[in-house]
Subunit: 145 residues, 2 copies
C-alpha cells in the first residue's frame, strides 16, 4: 500500500514497474477511470495500444452507437504518465476524483492490467472475494505490507 503525498506524487510499486518495462520498454503507464468500479484501471503502453486497436476493429464493423462508443469514451479519459527516477507518477486531482482515491492507495495486479484502489472504497464493495477482503482489511489495519 502506497501513499499520495502533498505534491500528488505516488510511488508505483517496483514489481509493477518491472513488468511494465519488460512489456513495453518504457517507463510509462496508462491510467483511466474504470467503467464499472470506483477505482482506476491501468495498463502498460503496449497492452493499451492493443486494446485500442481491437476497439478500432469493432468500431469499423459496427456503425451503430453501441458498446464500442461507450468504451471509446472511457478510453478517451485516460492519461499517459511517465514515472520519474524514483518511480513516482503525479496523480492529477481529476484522476483522484474519478477513482475515489484519497491519501492511501492499493495497487492490484490483475494479469495484463492492474487496478488502483482506495483501500476503504474497496472494502465497501459488494461481492469481492473473501480472501482478498481479509487481506485488504489486514493492510488497512496496518499489519505489514
Amino acid at each position: 500500500m502506497n501513499g499520495v503525498d502533498l505534491k500528488n506524487r505516488l510511488s508505483v510499486p517496483s514489481s509493477l514497474r518491472e513488468t511494465i518495462e519488460a512489456r513495453s520498454q518504457t517507463r510509462e503507464l496508462v491510467i483511466g477511470p474504470d467503467e464499472h468500479s470506483p477505482c482506476l484501471i491501468g495498463y502498460d503502453v503496449s497492452y493499451f495500444e492493443r486494446i485500442e486497436a481491437r476497439l478500432e476493429d469493432e468500431f469499423a464493423s459496427d456503425f451503430g452507437p453501441g458498446r464500442s462508443l461507450k468504451s471509446r469514451s472511457v478510453f478517451g479519459a485516460t492519461e499517459h504518465l511517465k514515472y520519474d527516477d524514483n518511480g513516482r507518477i503525479i496523480l492529477s486531482p481529476l484522476m483522484r476524483e474519478m477513482g475515489e482515491i484519497g491519501t492511501q492507495v492499493l495497487f492490484m495486479g490483475l494479469g495484463h492490467y492492474f487496478e488502483i484502489w482506495s483501500p476503504e472504497v474497496f472494502l465497501a464493495q459488494e461481492g469481492q472475494d473473501p480472501r482478498v477482503l481479509k487481506l485488504v482489511k489486514a493492510l488497512v489495519a496496518g499489519r505489514a505490507q
Copy 2:
C-alpha cells in the same frame, strides 16, 4: 519441516525447487491463501500464466464487471516470490496470517501444486489421512526429517 526465521525467511525444500524450475524455468513461485483450508497454496508461475491466458481468451476486449471480479479473486490475494541463492523466500506477515503460519512450516507436494501448513494447525484438522497424521506427529515430536 522448515522454520521461519527472524527475517521472515523460509527455505523452500530443494526437491520442490527442482520441480518448480523444471516446470517454469524460473526461480519463482506464486502463493496465496487456500480457499477451503487454513493453509497457503502454491504454484509454479507457468500455472498462473495459463490462468492469465485463459482470462484473456475468455474476455478479450470485454472489460465488464465479470472480468474484474474474477481477476481480483484470482490475482488479488496472491504474491509472486523469487527465492534467493540459498532457496529462501520471504514470507510476509500478511501471508503468515492468512495461512495461520507460525514459526514452523510444512511443505506438502500435491501434484501440480503444493500446500504450506503450520504443523499444529494441520494436526487439528478433521478428516486427515491417518498415515499422514502419524508422519506429521512424528515430525512435530522431532523424530525423523
